[in-house]
Symmetry: C2
């Protein structure tokens, strides 16, 4: 029997028709959770998945679709716990009787307060792909996550606003005047090293990107790479208890993960990278297997 | 003879008709440098000051009006130097023959690279009001400045993006969902102490404001005050070489300066506050006196 895997974030909706051997069709739309009122989710989903429906069809969804402002709130599960659990799924009432929609809940941590939605499914997928792994996963992104995993459970995690800070600073702040397309590895390494060695100076080092542009004609591509280095550096400084002396696996997009791998390598750490989409699909697939039991 | 004082920033234009004993009239408009093309500056100025013109009239302006994207670039003067100097003024050609417009240049510092525009005039005014002062001025704002002053010269300074980070994070980032009007002194102090003691954790502490709201119903006013505390705390951590064991005077708006004074008091420092507008006017007035010599 076929089913449908859905990754529904704030900005985008992605869906896969799943056959016995994995995905057989794929669709995506910009109708992310952030753009939809609760009554608009079903239509947005049908736009993508209707051709795949075959009688009553299971739709397993993860991500911000389960947030308070989403389609239907899927209450967080508190760590320590496995990343996902069939019992935690939240069913959604739909008008179309062919849809059997269930949303995977996120994870919460009481102290220090933290939450994730969507990454728990990637963690479940990473563990399905590497069942014996004990160590730390780093999931770079808008809100980067570091998660300690032991014996199949997430024992603790921490979120850093790195990606969102980069987007705001490079496109909305005064620094946008100093940024350009392109990249500069040496500038990235400099920013990284500055932030790791002197995290207290971060707010001054940010402004200096502007001043370096005005006074010393720092190229825009170098400014952008150094900004990325500063922000990943301050993240690594704060996440040190997670990576120091640990096995680390990255889960993320190729380019961003490469920057994190480069950053970790300067600290003597070799981290390999798992593809984020492959982990999401493996996570939803493992959840579907649990559901059948 | 009367003259006109102008503070022309990115967002606003403020002008004062100056008599022998200080300002006799005041006007302001939202036509800041950021909204004007070079050919639009003269008309924006005339809208405010035309009623005050009396034959050829001196207009002394400071701020972003002298930036590369402003009316006419006023090249930076490099520290160490006095905050302002009549020789550094840049004259602007105008269509209206009654206008004699001169723009005060900002200050630059080569290493670490830094720039200011407008604050140099406040520093000149503060020194005009307190000629014997040797020590440190802190100018809180969008881009907070710390300046070391000795024997009437600015010897070094450093800029922190504190105010801009606060604006972006509280209104443009995911944290905006957790913010509300109001204030909470205890939450401010907590944020301050967290950032001062563990600056490396700043990117994680920022996200925890969102998680505390979702999991522990942290009130929006407390989240906003804690965000302010975190950002002023990371600034104080980075500015420590400027304030530790120093005489510090604040130059700024009343409410924001009160937060900085409170923050410095937790570190055992008593800083008094000078009004920013009074300093700007005193700075432009002292520049006009130098011009007459």
């Amino acid at each position: 029997m076929n089913w449908i895997a859905v990754d529904w974030g704030t900005s985008n909706l992605r869906a896969w028709a799943m056959g016995p051997d994995g995905p057989v069709a794929h669709g995506e739309s910009p109708k992310g959770m952030g753009k939809l009122a609760p009554h608009e989710f079903e239509a947005a989903l049908l736009e993508l998945v209707e051709p795949w429906l075959d009688g009553k069809t299971l739709v397993l969804a993860c991500g911000m679709v389960g947030a308070r402002q989403g389609w239907r709130e899927a209450t967080y599960r508190a760590v320590p716990c496995t990343p996902t659990d069939a019992l935690g799924l939240t069913r959604v009432e739909t008008t179309d009787p062919r849809l059997d929609v269930r949303i995977a809940p996120g994870l919460s941590q009481s102290r220090p307060a933290d939450v994730m939605r969507g990454e728990e499914t990637q963690l479940a997928g990473a563990l399905a792909l590497h069942p014996a792994f004990d160590g730390v996963f780093c999931l770079p992104g808008t809100h980067s996550k570091w998660a300690q995993v032991s014996a199949g459970e997430v024992t603790s995690f921490q979120t850093f606003m790195t990606g969102e800070l980069f987007a705001l600073l490079s496109t909305q702040s005064v620094l946008r005047h100093s940024m350009a397309e392109g990249w500069d590895d040496a500038a990235f390494d400099e920013g990284l090293s500055e932030a790791l060695s002197r995290p207290d100076r971060i707010a001054a080092r940010l402004f200096s990107l502007r001043a370096e542009g005005l006074l010393h004609a720092l190229p825009g591509a170098s400014a952008k790479a150094r900004l990325s280095g500063l922000l990943i550096g301050i993240e690594l400084a704060g996440a040190k208890p997670y990576w120091l002396g640990q096995q680390v696996k990255l889960i993320g997009a190729e380019k961003l993960s490469a920057s994190y791998a480069r950053a970790l390598a300067t600290q003597g750490l070799k981290a390999d990278t798992l593809d984020a989409t492959a982990c999401t699909l493996a996570g939803l697939a493992s959840l579907r297997l649990k559901l059948e039991k």
